[in-house]
């Protein structure tokens, strides 16, 4: 299993770098799993990189040899638009939709785009990780800070947001212009994190003000940001998805990862079965697989259920109290994040920070 996983990783690493970012109108990448001409076709649309989610799919297919799974990788905003359009026109598109932009998924479920399903495994999910039995949280990924081990001295490593504020406060700080974060207009996930931050603590206002003053960089896509940190282009990246950071760290020792100890947002990618899906029983089997011990193990191996959240792994997240973990629950309250006027107001403030 492990070897399969590694070979996947090396095989796709190049494509990942090439295609991870930039395309916006169409799917970013497509991969077919399972043997040609297998009986049943399953279409999965996801925001997760094929390279990362591929091994999980492979594990699933071992138990379902007659299934051919078409994996489409999308940007979150495009995936939302497409799914919504499919839903309104009642057009059969994907059989499974998995997105990290859970607020968009909540919105889709709210608009009656999802099919319901209940099983013993879905019932075992905590209440915050399922909604209406139409939307389920399948991963656990913290939003972390990433820094360059070589260029950031040990004393400067920010453990909390307050540490980061302190680093940025001096007028001659060497971190000016070298802190990066998501461009929240481009990335649905970045917007979600920023919005959750704004709900979580007043720190975010101050942080935003500091980012603006020190001309922090907002850019697209986890991979770009992390690579930028590793290569020394940026010194610190804020609110990067922990799963990507850890995956990168396994190949490139130059980055360090911090789970902010004041609070750490934990994202659960949401899975939904569109109501017009053609292969609902198979999609349900896939969901049950992801929630089963086997599937959980596969997700853990793919770092999608993050080992960083387990205290005994010796990483920087050690000692993080459980109250500091703030899961982004699947609830209709997330719809606020997607409201047109609210988003506009929020983005206007953001633009004022990053001109």
């Amino acid at each position: 299993m492990r070897t399969v996983f590694l070979s996947w990783r090396t095989f796709l690493a190049g494509i990942l770098v090439l295609l991870n970012c930039g395309l916006s109108a169409a799917q970013e990448m497509v991969a077919d799993f399972g043997r040609e001409g297998a009986g049943q076709d399953l279409v999965l649309r996801s925001t997760t990189d094929i390279a990362i989610f591929g091994p999980v799919v492979e594990t699933f297919l071992q138990a379902h040899p007659d299934v051919r799974l078409r994996y489409e990788q999308w940007g979150s905003n495009e995936l939302y638009r497409l799914s919504r359009q499919d839903c309104r026109s009642d057009e059969a598109g994907a059989d499974i939709v998995i997105s990290s932009a859970v607020h968009q998924m909540v919105q889709l479920v709210n608009e009656a785009c999802a099919a319901g399903y209940r099983s013993r495994l879905t019932d075992q999910l905590p209440g915050a990780l399922r909604w209406r039995d139409e939307l389920w949280g399948i991963t656990r990924e913290p939003a972390v800070m990433v820094y360059n081990r070589d260029l950031v001295p040990a004393g400067d490593i920010p453990r909390t947001r307050f540490d980061l504020l302190d680093l940025l406060r001096p007028s001659d700080t060497r971190y000016a212009g070298r802190v990066a974060t998501y461009d929240i207009e481009e990335s649905g996930l970045g917007y979600l994190f920023a919005f959750a931050d704004a709900q979580e603590a007043s720190t975010f206002g101050a942080l935003q003000e500091s980012f603006g003053r020190t001309r922090a960089i907002s850019t697209c896509c986890s991979a770009d940001i992390i690579r930028g940190v590793a290569e020394g282009q940026y010194l610190i990246a804020y609110n990067v998805l922990g799963s990507y950071a850890q995956g990168y760290q396994q190949q490139d020792e130059r980055i360090g990862i911090v789970l902010p100890s004041d609070y750490t947002l934990v994202l659960s990618r949401a899975l939904m079965i569109p109501k017009q899906a053609r292969r609902k029983p198979l999609a349900e089997a896939f969901l049950d697989f992801l929630l089963s011990p086997e599937g959980t193990l596969a997700l853990r191996t793919a770092l999608l259920i993050s080992p960083l959240l387990e205290a005994e792994d010796g990483n920087e997240g050690e000692g993080l109290s459980s109250t500091a973990l703030r899961p982004i629950g699947l609830s209709p309250a997330l719809m606020v994040a997607l409201d047109g006027l609210t988003r506009e107001t929020f983005l206007r403030r953001w633009r004022a920070t990053f001109p």
Partner: protein
């Protein structure tokens, strides 16, 4: 349906079913109302929360939806949320344009309305907020709605709990009914047990220490047994009297018959035959009278009372004319008036009594004999009168005491005739009066309470 338990069970079951249906409907209606008002308040709270978050910047309404409003709505955890914020010109500022406002409410005051949300029934609240800024003047309306899952489940929950209570109370009622039926039936079982444990000859009254409702039955039973007892007693008396009275004449007859067979002299034999004839004739009369007495006693207890005109009785006895056959030498006159003389009694018994009195008059009195019926001082009287003096005072007194002792029947036939008349009088609530009338005549009369005059 003959079982009391089954009747009570059916009654309780009907009560429970009807009550259950009514309570279920009432509980469901109440549950729906309670759920509606509870969740309506949530909606209104959320709508106000959102409305108060609207501000005006550069002449445009600006809003950051308060998360708290949605967290409020998330108290109905599985319900979809719809909202729409409408600007002063009726343009949707944000939210779902799909939410249709009720067409008949043009002015759209604040309040609630029912609608649907993506095909699911939903309930909405509207809150208006007026702005009077230099740059923005008008009303912004906030519509917030929610599907009905939580409301329905709350309503069902309330209904279900009410039904639990109903089921429990129904069970209690059934248990109670069983206990009550058992305890009601206990006295009956006791009575039945007492009856079957009784000696067959025991006709004494039963224990009446039973509930009032069953005492009726006991009283009826005791009355019945008393009547049975009386009849048994009179039968016993009759049998012993008969045995006693027949023994002497039969023994005399047998003695005469013995004499006859041992007598050689023809003329004496003839005398003996004559005696035997007289004896057997009087034995026949005695038998007649005893049978009459038995009849009278039997009818006194068992015959139905009817209204009888005593004049008819006198007339019938007079016209039957038995006396004319037996005593052709005696003159009999009938003396009845115009007015009916009515009593509640039994015709054969009265006739028998009158016949006996008449035959006594023939036997011991002197002609002329008169029989009649009349009303005297509110009493109905039927009587036989003769010209003799009647028995002397001492005999009359003795007769009186013997009537009271009930031993009269052991006397010779005259006593028996009076005894029959006496029995009849007593059976129908009257009395036998033997007296000297003012006209130096002897009268034997039966006095009864006159029956109330018929409204003819």
């Amino acid at each position: 349906m003959t079982s009391l338990t089954a009747r009570v069970a059916a009654g309780v079951a009907v009560l429970l079913i009807i009550g259950g249906v009514i309570v279920s409907i009432a509980a469901f209606a109440y549950g729906r109302e309670a759920a509606r008002s509870a969740f309506d308040r949530l909606l209104l709270g959320a709508a106000h929360d959102i409305a108060s978050a609207i501000t005006v910047q550069d002449g445009k309404p600006v809003i950051e939806l308060p998360v708290s409003a949605f967290e409020l709505l998330a108290f109905a955890p599985d319900d979809r949320i719809g909202y729409r914020i409408i600007g002063p010109e009726g343009k949707t500022l944000t939210g779902y344009e799909e939410i249709a406002l009720p067409a008949n409410r043009r002015d759209l005051r604040d309040g609630y309305f029912d609608g649907s949300f993506f095909g699911e029934p939903a309930r909405y609240a509207i809150v208006s907020r007026r702005f009077a800024e230099r740059t923005l003047n008008g009303t912004i309306r906030v519509v917030v709605g929610q599907t009905m899952l939580a409301r329905n489940s709350m309503a069902y929950d309330i209904t279900r709990k009410a039904l639990y209570v109903l089921a429990a109370s129904g069970l209690a009622m059934i248990l109670l009914a069983v206990v009550v039926v058992r305890s009601v039936l206990t006295p009956l079982e006791r009575i039945a047990g007492g009856l079957s444990a009784r000696d067959p000859h025991d006709l004494t009254p039963m224990d009446t220490s039973v509930p009032r409702e069953t005492a009726v039955m006991i009283d009826a039973l005791n009355g019945f047994m008393a009547r049975l007892d009386r009849q048994m007693n009179s039968m016993r008396h009759l049998i012993s009297d008969t045995a006693h009275q027949l023994r002497t004449p039969v023994a005399a007859l047998r003695a005469q018959a013995d004499l006859f067979s041992g007598e050689a002299d023809l003329s004496r034999k003839e005398k003996i035959v004559e005696r035997i004839q007289t004896r057997s004739a009087s034995l026949g009369r005695l038998l007649d009278q005893m049978l009459s007495q038995a009849l009278v006693i039997h009818r006194g207890d068992s015959a139905r009372r009817e209204t009888v005109d005593l004049r008819d009785i006198a007339l019938d006895v007079f016209e039957e004319g038995d006396h004319a056959v037996l005593n052709p030498e005696m003159d009999v006159a009938l003396d009845i008036g115009e007015k009916p003389v009515e009593v509640l009694a039994d015709v054969p018994s009265l006739k028998e009594a009158l016949k006996n009195l008449l035959s006594n008059a023939f036997k011991y009195g002197r002609p002329p004999v008169r029989i009649g019926a009349s009303l005297e001082d509110g009493k109905a009287v039927i009587w036989v009168e003769d010209a003799g003096k009647g028995p002397d005072r001492q005999t009359l007194d003795e007769l009186g005491t013997r009537f009271n002792r009930g031993t009269l029947a052991r006397q010779a036939s005259s006593g028996l005739g009076l005894a029959i008349a006496h029995s009849v009088a007593v059976s129908f609530g009257g009395e036998l009066v033997l007296e000297q009338t003012s006209g130096e005549r002897f009268r034997a009369a039966l006095l009864f309470d006159a029956a109330p005059a018929r409204s003819a």
